[in-house]
Amino acid sequence: MRILLTALAATTIAVASPAAIAQDTTTTETSIAAQTMVTAKVNGMVCDFCARAVTKVFGKEDAVENVHVDLDNGEIHVTLKSGAELSDERVESLVKKSGYDLVSIEREAA
């Protein structure tokens, strides 16, 4: 009987564990896939203070997790929180509110 129970337990673990692992993996992948990075190319962002204005304005948005400014390429990289959205119109509005002009917007999975 003991051997039978041990074998049953081993079988259960062998069958159940991969499923559990797969489920965790799926959850993680879904979480990663739900994060988006928005790249806004702008005109006029030529100094450190310009970059600071952009990070302050974008940083106040609930949907935004992180803001990075690339002065060399005149780009704002905005990482959104999982599942959060930031429309193109909102991005353009925030760029304008910072004092700059939007050129283009690109989106990709973060």
């Binding site: 005109n43 030529v46 310009c50 600071r52 204005a53 304005v57 002065l71 509110k97 004092g99 002009d101």
Partner: protein, 215 residues
């Protein structure tokens, strides 16, 4: 209590240390505060302002003019009239106006309603900088006009968060002054939210020391 003492000390140092000519970018980002302290030997100024939008700022302005012996205190409004953004440059045109009171040194009873208006413009790339400012004062007991211009070059291009350094040359013109036109070479250091400028005017043998912080 300590914070009040600190604020008082900052204001006192500000009044002892500041020049109106170098007030580039008088408007910050929405919700941003700026403290500008400038001194060039002829005048010491303190300007503390708040920007509700990226086009406006309002705050207090105080100037002690050592060259012409008067003191002005008032409320100053700055307006970004126009900004030109290009892929590699930014240019701005500003309007400024202040209203308050002024009095000659040593005569506190002779306080007059006073004010000034001015325009300033700047153009900047990551390598080059140029600016111009003109102001006209009506102090009740006297009138004053001045203008100044700057050119600058960054010896290296820093990335966001680096220490940025500029080598600049400022020319000032004040028709009523003992030395109407002066030339001031200066160095600007810009790091994080702090901006510090140190210069020297050979004609008047005066030190320039400006400090700006934005938060």
């Amino acid at each position: 209590m300590k914070s009040i003492q600190y604020a008082g000390m900052t204001l006192a140092i500000g009044l002892a240390l500041v020049s109106p000519e170098a007030e580039a970018r008088p408007v910050s980002y929405p919700g941003g505060w700026t403290v500008m302290q400038m001194n060039d030997g002829d005048a010491s100024t303190l300007h503390v302002h708040y920007s509700p939008t990226f086009k406006d700022s309002i705050g207090l302005y105080s100037e002690r003019n050592w060259g012409e012996d008067w003191h002005f205190t008032g409320v100053q409004y700055n307006r970004l009239v126009k900004r030109w953004n290009t892929p590699n440059s930014q240019a701005n045109l500003y309007f400024k106006a202040a209203a308050g009171q002024a009095d000659p040194f040593g005569d506190g009873a002779d306080v007059k309603a006073a004010g000034f208006v001015g325009v300033s413009a700047d153009w900047e790339t990551r390598r080059w900088f140029a600016s111009y400012e003109a102001r006209g004062y009506d102090l009740g007991f006297t009138q004053d006009a001045r203008q100044s211009a700057r050119v600058g070059i960054a010896p290296y291009i820093g990335d966001y968060g680096d220490l940025h350094t500029w080598l600049m040359l400022q020319v000032d013109n004040q028709p009523e002054a003992d030395t109407p036109t002066t030339l001031t070479p200066l160095v600007r250091f810009f790091y994080d939210v702090q901006l510090l400028e140190i210069g020297y005017t050979p004609e008047s043998e005066e030190l320039m020391l400006n400090w700006i912080v934005r938060f």
